[in-house]
Protein backbone atom coordinates (compact mmCIF):
# COMPACT_ATOMS: atom_id res chain seq x y z
CA UNK A 1 0.00 0.00 0.00
CA UNK A 2 1.40 3.38 -0.98
CA UNK A 3 0.10 6.70 0.31
CA UNK A 4 0.14 9.75 -1.93
CA UNK A 5 -0.54 13.29 -0.75
CA UNK A 6 -1.45 16.27 -2.89
CA UNK A 7 -1.50 19.79 -1.43
CA UNK A 8 -3.53 22.80 -2.42
CA UNK A 9 -4.10 26.23 -0.95
CA UNK A 10 -7.30 28.24 -0.78
CA UNK A 11 -8.05 31.64 0.72
CA UNK A 12 -11.41 32.02 2.42
CA UNK A 13 -13.17 34.00 5.11
CA UNK A 14 -15.50 32.72 7.81
CA UNK A 15 -16.85 33.38 11.25
CA UNK A 16 -18.06 31.13 14.08
CA UNK A 17 -21.64 31.55 15.25
CA UNK A 18 -24.37 29.20 16.44
CA UNK A 19 -27.78 30.87 15.83
CA UNK A 20 -29.40 28.58 18.44
CA UNK A 21 -27.32 30.21 21.19
CA UNK A 22 -27.66 33.74 22.62
CA UNK A 23 -25.10 36.37 21.47
CA UNK A 24 -23.28 36.36 24.85
CA UNK A 25 -22.77 32.59 24.67
CA UNK A 26 -21.46 32.86 21.11
CA UNK A 27 -19.00 35.56 22.18
CA UNK A 28 -17.88 33.48 25.17
CA UNK A 29 -17.39 30.31 23.12
CA UNK A 30 -15.81 31.80 20.03
CA UNK A 31 -14.22 35.09 21.11
CA UNK A 32 -12.83 37.12 18.20
CA UNK A 33 -13.89 34.34 15.79
CA UNK A 34 -17.51 35.43 16.40
CA UNK A 35 -17.05 38.76 14.57
CA UNK A 36 -19.98 38.63 12.07
CA UNK A 37 -17.98 40.44 9.40
CA UNK A 38 -15.69 37.42 9.28
CA UNK A 39 -11.93 37.04 9.12
CA UNK A 40 -9.75 35.07 6.74
CA UNK A 41 -7.17 32.36 6.39
CA UNK A 42 -4.89 30.92 3.76
CA UNK A 43 -6.05 27.36 4.26
CA UNK A 44 -3.75 24.54 3.19
CA UNK A 45 -5.42 21.34 2.13
CA UNK A 46 -3.64 17.98 2.02
CA UNK A 47 -5.50 15.11 0.40
CA UNK A 48 -3.95 11.68 1.05
CA UNK A 49 -5.04 8.70 -1.01
CA UNK A 50 -3.86 5.13 -0.74
CA UNK A 51 -3.63 2.24 -3.12
CA UNK A 52 -1.41 -0.27 -4.84
CA UNK A 53 0.98 0.86 -7.56
CA UNK A 54 -0.32 0.07 -11.05
CA UNK A 55 2.50 -2.00 -12.64
CA UNK A 56 1.84 -0.50 -16.07
CA UNK A 57 1.89 3.20 -15.20
CA UNK A 58 3.80 3.11 -11.88
CA UNK A 59 1.05 5.29 -10.40
CA UNK A 60 -1.14 4.93 -7.33
CA UNK A 61 -3.44 7.48 -8.93
CA UNK A 62 -3.23 9.76 -11.95
CA UNK A 63 -2.17 13.04 -10.30
CA UNK A 64 -3.84 15.07 -13.03
CA UNK A 65 -7.12 13.35 -12.22
CA UNK A 66 -6.66 13.97 -8.49
CA UNK A 67 -5.80 17.63 -9.12
CA UNK A 68 -8.87 18.09 -11.37
CA UNK A 69 -11.16 16.47 -8.80
CA UNK A 70 -9.77 18.68 -6.03
CA UNK A 71 -10.33 21.82 -8.13
CA UNK A 72 -13.78 20.84 -9.32
CA UNK A 73 -15.16 19.50 -6.04
CA UNK A 74 -13.42 21.71 -3.45
CA UNK A 75 -11.34 24.65 -4.60
CA UNK A 76 -13.84 26.12 -7.07
CA UNK A 77 -16.44 26.10 -4.28
CA UNK A 78 -14.28 27.38 -1.43
CA UNK A 79 -11.42 29.46 -2.81
CA UNK A 80 -11.86 33.21 -2.40
CA UNK A 81 -15.27 32.69 -0.79
CA UNK A 82 -16.99 33.74 2.41
CA UNK A 83 -17.67 30.21 3.66
CA UNK A 84 -20.69 31.04 5.84
CA UNK A 85 -22.54 32.71 2.98
CA UNK A 86 -21.40 30.93 -0.17
CA UNK A 87 -20.72 27.26 0.56
CA UNK A 88 -23.88 25.10 0.98
CA UNK A 89 -22.44 22.96 3.81
CA UNK A 90 -21.85 26.07 5.91
CA UNK A 91 -25.16 27.87 5.46
CA UNK A 92 -26.40 25.97 8.52
CA UNK A 93 -23.21 24.56 10.04
CA UNK A 94 -20.26 26.38 11.62
CA UNK A 95 -17.23 26.40 9.24
CA UNK A 96 -14.73 25.30 11.88
CA UNK A 97 -11.57 23.57 10.65
CA UNK A 98 -13.12 20.28 11.79
CA UNK A 99 -16.30 20.80 9.73
CA UNK A 100 -14.32 22.01 6.71
CA UNK A 101 -12.17 18.82 6.78
CA UNK A 102 -15.29 16.64 7.04
CA UNK A 103 -17.07 18.53 4.23
CA UNK A 104 -14.04 18.17 1.94
CA UNK A 105 -13.86 14.45 2.70
CA UNK A 106 -17.52 14.03 1.80
CA UNK A 107 -17.01 15.95 -1.46
CA UNK A 108 -14.05 13.79 -2.49
CA UNK A 109 -14.65 10.29 -1.16
CA UNK A 110 -16.80 8.97 -4.01
CA UNK A 111 -15.00 10.85 -6.78
CA UNK A 112 -11.62 9.10 -6.90
CA UNK A 113 -10.69 6.46 -9.46
CA UNK A 114 -8.38 3.55 -8.55
CA UNK A 115 -7.18 4.90 -5.20
CA UNK A 116 -9.03 5.19 -1.89
CA UNK A 117 -9.26 8.38 0.15
CA UNK A 118 -7.20 7.90 3.33
CA UNK A 119 -7.08 11.30 5.04
CA UNK A 120 -8.06 14.92 4.56
CA UNK A 121 -5.91 17.39 6.47
CA UNK A 122 -6.83 21.09 6.64
CA UNK A 123 -4.45 23.68 8.07
CA UNK A 124 -6.25 26.79 9.25
CA UNK A 125 -2.86 28.28 10.19
CA UNK A 126 0.60 26.63 10.19
CA UNK A 127 0.04 25.89 13.89
CA UNK A 128 -3.51 24.51 13.72
CA UNK A 129 -4.74 21.65 11.59
CA UNK A 130 -7.38 18.93 11.59
CA UNK A 131 -7.18 15.39 10.20
CA UNK A 132 -10.28 13.47 9.16
CA UNK A 133 -10.06 9.77 8.31
CA UNK A 134 -13.73 9.23 7.49
CA UNK A 135 -14.51 7.84 10.94
CA UNK A 136 -18.10 8.20 12.18
Amino acid sequence: MVYLTRKAEFAASHYYDNPDLPPEENRRLFGKCNNPNGHGHNYVLEVTVKGEVDPRSGFVIDLKQLKDVMHREVLNAMDHRFLNKEVPEFLHQIPTTENIAIAIWQRLVTKLERAKLHRVRVYETPDLFVDFYGEA
Binding site: E98, D127, F129, V130, D131, E135
Partner: protein, 134 residues
Protein backbone atom coordinates in the same frame (compact mmCIF):
# COMPACT_ATOMS: atom_id res chain seq x y z
CA UNK B 1 -17.95 12.37 13.25
CA UNK B 2 -14.57 11.81 14.81
CA UNK B 3 -11.80 14.27 13.93
CA UNK B 4 -8.20 14.76 15.05
CA UNK B 5 -7.11 18.28 15.96
CA UNK B 6 -3.44 19.25 16.17
CA UNK B 7 -1.99 22.42 17.65
CA UNK B 8 1.63 23.56 17.61
CA UNK B 9 3.52 25.61 20.20
CA UNK B 10 7.04 26.97 20.27
CA UNK B 11 9.38 27.08 23.24
CA UNK B 12 13.12 27.69 23.48
CA UNK B 13 15.28 25.76 25.91
CA UNK B 14 18.82 24.57 26.39
CA UNK B 15 20.11 21.14 27.40
CA UNK B 16 23.20 19.00 27.65
CA UNK B 17 23.17 15.27 27.02
CA UNK B 18 25.26 13.61 29.71
CA UNK B 19 24.62 10.45 31.73
CA UNK B 20 26.12 9.93 35.20
CA UNK B 21 25.93 6.18 34.51
CA UNK B 22 28.63 6.50 31.84
CA UNK B 23 32.28 7.50 31.90
CA UNK B 24 33.37 10.75 30.24
CA UNK B 25 34.65 8.80 27.24
CA UNK B 26 31.40 6.89 26.89
CA UNK B 27 29.39 10.11 27.16
CA UNK B 28 31.52 11.70 24.47
CA UNK B 29 31.21 8.63 22.23
CA UNK B 30 27.44 8.38 22.76
CA UNK B 31 26.42 12.00 22.57
CA UNK B 32 29.16 13.68 20.51
CA UNK B 33 28.69 17.46 20.29
CA UNK B 34 25.55 17.18 22.44
CA UNK B 35 27.85 16.36 25.36
CA UNK B 36 29.64 19.75 25.23
CA UNK B 37 29.84 20.88 28.87
CA UNK B 38 27.99 24.19 28.51
CA UNK B 39 25.04 22.72 26.65
CA UNK B 40 23.29 24.08 23.57
CA UNK B 41 19.77 25.19 22.67
CA UNK B 42 16.79 24.49 20.47
CA UNK B 43 13.59 26.14 19.38
CA UNK B 44 11.38 23.17 20.18
CA UNK B 45 7.99 22.83 18.49
CA UNK B 46 5.51 20.72 20.45
CA UNK B 47 2.56 19.44 18.46
CA UNK B 48 -0.36 18.10 20.50
CA UNK B 49 -2.97 15.94 18.73
CA UNK B 50 -6.33 15.32 20.37
CA UNK B 51 -9.30 13.44 18.95
CA UNK B 52 -13.01 13.16 19.56
CA UNK B 53 -16.47 13.70 18.17
CA UNK B 54 -17.13 17.11 16.62
CA UNK B 55 -19.54 18.87 18.99
CA UNK B 56 -22.59 19.83 16.86
CA UNK B 57 -23.14 22.92 19.05
CA UNK B 58 -19.67 24.40 18.47
CA UNK B 59 -18.29 22.53 15.46
CA UNK B 60 -15.15 21.80 17.51
CA UNK B 61 -13.42 18.71 18.92
CA UNK B 62 -12.23 20.78 21.86
CA UNK B 63 -12.15 24.41 22.86
CA UNK B 64 -8.81 25.81 21.72
CA UNK B 65 -8.85 28.50 24.39
CA UNK B 66 -8.88 25.75 27.05
CA UNK B 67 -6.11 23.79 25.34
CA UNK B 68 -3.96 26.88 24.74
CA UNK B 69 -4.44 27.98 28.34
CA UNK B 70 -3.48 24.57 29.70
CA UNK B 71 -0.39 24.32 27.47
CA UNK B 72 0.74 27.82 28.43
CA UNK B 73 0.35 27.15 32.16
CA UNK B 74 1.57 23.56 32.41
CA UNK B 75 4.09 23.13 29.60
CA UNK B 76 5.36 26.40 28.18
CA UNK B 77 5.78 28.15 31.55
CA UNK B 78 7.58 25.04 32.78
CA UNK B 79 10.06 24.61 29.92
CA UNK B 80 10.30 27.85 27.94
CA UNK B 81 13.58 29.73 28.30
CA UNK B 82 14.85 27.14 30.77
CA UNK B 83 17.95 24.99 30.99
CA UNK B 84 16.32 21.56 31.02
CA UNK B 85 19.20 19.99 32.97
CA UNK B 86 18.42 22.24 35.95
CA UNK B 87 14.78 21.17 36.19
CA UNK B 88 13.44 18.64 38.69
CA UNK B 89 12.04 16.53 35.82
CA UNK B 90 15.56 15.78 34.60
CA UNK B 91 17.38 15.39 37.91
CA UNK B 92 17.75 11.65 37.22
CA UNK B 93 16.93 11.51 33.53
CA UNK B 94 18.89 12.69 30.49
CA UNK B 95 16.90 15.51 28.85
CA UNK B 96 16.90 13.92 25.42
CA UNK B 97 14.03 14.96 23.22
CA UNK B 98 12.62 11.45 23.63
CA UNK B 99 12.40 11.93 27.40
CA UNK B 100 11.08 15.47 27.05
CA UNK B 101 8.38 14.28 24.64
CA UNK B 102 7.29 11.55 27.07
CA UNK B 103 7.25 14.04 29.95
CA UNK B 104 5.08 16.51 28.03
CA UNK B 105 2.73 13.65 27.05
CA UNK B 106 2.38 12.69 30.73
CA UNK B 107 1.62 16.29 31.73
CA UNK B 108 -1.08 16.67 29.09
CA UNK B 109 -2.52 13.17 29.56
CA UNK B 110 -2.90 13.66 33.32
CA UNK B 111 -3.97 17.29 33.34
CA UNK B 112 -6.09 17.95 30.23
CA UNK B 113 -9.07 15.63 30.50
CA UNK B 114 -11.49 17.48 28.21
CA UNK B 115 -10.68 15.30 25.23
CA UNK B 116 -8.70 12.17 24.25
CA UNK B 117 -4.96 12.75 23.73
CA UNK B 118 -3.71 10.93 20.63
CA UNK B 119 -0.06 11.86 20.64
CA UNK B 120 2.57 14.44 21.41
CA UNK B 121 5.11 15.19 18.72
CA UNK B 122 8.24 17.22 19.48
CA UNK B 123 10.45 18.78 16.82
CA UNK B 124 13.95 19.35 18.08
CA UNK B 125 15.24 20.79 14.80
CA UNK B 126 13.91 20.95 11.24
CA UNK B 127 15.42 17.49 10.71
CA UNK B 128 14.56 15.60 13.93
CA UNK B 129 11.18 14.97 15.47
CA UNK B 130 9.88 12.53 18.04
CA UNK B 131 6.42 11.23 18.69
CA UNK B 132 4.86 9.50 21.71
CA UNK B 133 1.41 7.93 21.78
CA UNK B 134 1.40 6.65 25.34
Amino acid sequence: MKAHLSRRYLFSASHRLHSEAMSDEENHATYGKCNNPYGHGHNYIVEVTVSGQVDPKTGMVCNLVDLDGFMEREVLCRFDHENLNTLREFARNVPTTENLCIRIYEIVHRGFREVHLERVRLEETMMNSFEYRG
